[in-house]
């Protein structure tokens, strides 16, 4: 009897704790969702309860976003920037992480940490020198400047991430391939890459998210609306003076966050589960 009570109490505590986290993390999304669907009179009436609809929901904000602003263009810009940065990051970080994990011995460790540290230099310090680079390449006020700049923080972090992953991968797999007749590069392509899909996917999603949410560089380098990525467009073009287009801002934020949420939930779990099992004893 006593035991049953204790069990119930511990279950209760567990679900209580989970519930708190769920509320904490889901609330912003809920807020975004209802705000984006509320009509303006509903939004700006202080007497209304803010947590639920007081008047009929409307898609007006979404219509405005797509018809009266460059929102679709911003989305496209973000997508292009994201894809380019992902490609550049992969092209640099996969070979770099592999070399650091396998070929540099003890110095590789220090070098890896050094590379990671550069990720920690805040963009607010870096944008000054980088703006000179951007200017001398004639990329001011163009979204291509972001394609150039974003890899400066995605590559270090992803190199470090991949280095850790490659280190954990049993080296015997590549060695067996090499003895079985592959070159070093052949072993890398036929063994290491397919086995790294979970890590590579992580890098892709991480890089894409990072570029999607970046704000400081975008704000400093770009002022033309048509060149803006979605984060910048929503935050700058939907705030006129001291008027916030709350409905549109929330609708924009919601749309931008949906693909990321889907990517995280669908892909990550599925790919990370046990691809590498069974190689060694």
């Amino acid at each position: 009897m006593r035991r049953a009570v204790l069990n119930a109490a511990s279950d209760g505590a567990f679900y209580g704790a989970v519930a708190i986290f769920v509320v904490l993390t889901a609330f912003p999304f809920y807020w975004m969702l209802i705000t984006s669907l509320k009509s303006n009179p509903d939004l700006y009436n202080v007497a209304n309860t803010p947590f639920w609809f007081n008047e009929t929901p409307t898609l007006e904000h979404f219509r405005y976003l797509f018809e009266q602003t460059l929102f679709a263009r911003w989305l496209l810009n973000s997508l292009i920037i994201g894809l380019c940065v992902v490609a550049i990051t992969l092209a640099a970080a996969v070979p770099a992480g592999y070399s650091l994990a396998r070929m540099t011995g003890r110095n590789g460790e220090a070098l890896g940490i050094g590379i990671f540290l550069t990720y920690l230099v805040p963009p607010t310090l870096l944008f000054l020198p980088l703006s000179r680079v951007v200017a001398s390449l004639g990329l001011q006020n163009s979204m291509w400047s972001l394609v150039l700049v974003y890899p400066t923080f995605t590559i270090p972090f992803c190199t470090w991430l991949l280095m850790g992953f490659f280190k954990a991968m049993p080296v015997e797999i590549e060695e067996a391939a090499i003895v079985d007749g592959c070159s070093l590069f052949g072993a890398f392509v036929r063994m290491v890459l397919p086995l790294s899909i979970p890590a590579i996917l992580t890098v892709v999603i991480f890089t894409f998210t990072l570029t999607l949410q970046e704000f400081v560089y975008a704000l400093t380098f770009i002022s033309t609306s048509a060149q803006k990525p979605v984060t910048l467009g929503v935050a700058t073009d939907l705030v006129r003076g001291d008027i916030f287009f709350w409905g549109e801002i929330m609708a924009g934020a919601l749309i931008a966050s949906i693909p990321v949420a889907i990517a995280y939930n669908l892909f990550l779990d599925r790919f990370i589960s046990g691809i590498t099992g069974g190689a060694v004893k």
């Binding site: 003895v179 063994m191 046990g274 691809i275 190689a279 004893k281």
Partner: protein
């Protein structure tokens, strides 16, 4: 198929001298066993032979060619890793086929050879599984099949049977040996199991601390150990050693017999106090000390069949034991074999 020669190979890792001047010639078609305790450099030596590790100094010659600077894939040796190194994203079939695919062998030929290797090792029913769906012993056999499937210049096996149960180990031992003799492939087989070494090797190289202590046939290694290390590493229980005249006197437990068992006068006699007796079914081993020698030197005697079942020699008793002179081995103060002292 080619002879393998190592000349004065050294390998240094930072501050560890893993291989300390090993010279070894394995003639074409020989089954050479490297036997030594854990950490003595066996794996490192194999990795140097197959090219995964570059020796610090020394020469390696395979099939008459100096291969110091030849990459592994051009050396054409097959190696089975101590930890298998299976390809987790391939099926068993593709794991075994991989060395053939890199050689651009035709499809039909690949299928034939894979099936042959799989049935040799009794894993035909596993061909469509992936490594993570196999037991440890099954993985080991897949790794072995992958090493056997192509015709390499030399076959390197790093403790290939360590994960099998006793019964399977015995039959795999036989299979490997038969395969090796049929194909006549030069084989270097690493183990720290002396039963495997004695039973399989044409010759055995006993290694300790990165050095080869002795190379010889199983009989030579057992009967005429080159030094104290070999004498005490091979044999269960190992050779008895007692200090005498500034050197060491050695004799095998099975040669240390109750005096009445030895006919003829040419024998060394001892007073033996039995302290402990072990019954092992087919044999009985008694441990004790010799009168007049250091009591810390524990002496083992393997009793002849007549004494196994009946307990005629019991702990606490003193008995007269003897060793035929021809069975005595002498070692000098440094532990090297001597003719007498």
């Amino acid at each position: 198929m080619a002879p393998v020669t190592a000349r004065n190979i050294f390998k240094k890792f930072d501050d560890v001298l893993a291989v300390n001047g090993m010279s070894l010639t394995v003639p074409d078609g020989e089954f050479m066993v490297l036997l030594g305790p854990s950490g003595c450099g066996k794996t490192t030596f194999l990795r140097i032979v197959c090219g995964l590790e570059r020796q610090t100094s020394g020469d390696l010659i395979i099939g008459g060619n100096l291969v110091n600077d030849i990459p592994p894939r051009a050396r054409g040796v097959a190696m089975m890793f101590q930890s298998y190194g299976l390809y987790p994203h391939y099926t068993v079939r593709n794991n075994i086929a991989f060395p053939l695919k890199t050689q651009h062998v035709s499809r039909g030929e690949i299928d034939k050879k894979v099936n042959w290797a799989a049935s040799l090792l009794g894993i035909s029913h596993l061909l469509d599984r992936r490594p993570r769906q196999l037991s440890g012993g099954e993985r080991q056999r897949v790794a072995l099949a992958r090493a056997l499937v192509r015709e390499p210049t030399a076959l390197l096996l790093d403790e290939p049977l360590s994960n099998l149960d006793a019964k399977m180990r015995a039959s795999a031992r036989q299979d490997i040996r038969q395969f090796q003799q049929r194909v006549g492939i030069t084989t270097i087989y690493v183990t720290h199991d002396q039963v495997e070494a004695m039973g399989m090797g044409d010759r055995i190289a006993v290694i300790d601390h990165g050095r080869i202590r002795q190379v010889g046939t199983p009989v030579e290694i057992y009967e005429d150990p080159a030094d104290r290390f070999v004498a005490t590493f091979v044999g269960t229980p190992p050779m008895n050693l007692v200090a005498r005249n500034g050197g060491y006197l050695g004799f095998r437990p099975e040669n240390f017999l109750p005096k009445e068992m030895i006919n003829g006068s040419d024998a060394a006699e001892f007073s033996f106090r039995v302290d402990r007796s072990e019954y092992l079914g087919s044999e009985r081993i008694v441990y004790g000390v010799l009168d007049g020698f250091n009591p810390a030197e524990v002496i083992a005697a393997k009793l002849p069949p007549a004494h196994v079942a009946e307990e005629s020699i019991r702990p606490g008793e003193w008995h007269r034991f003897a060793v035929r002179r021809g069975a005595l081995r002498y070692f000098d103060a440094n532990g090297k074999r001597a003719m007498s002292h």
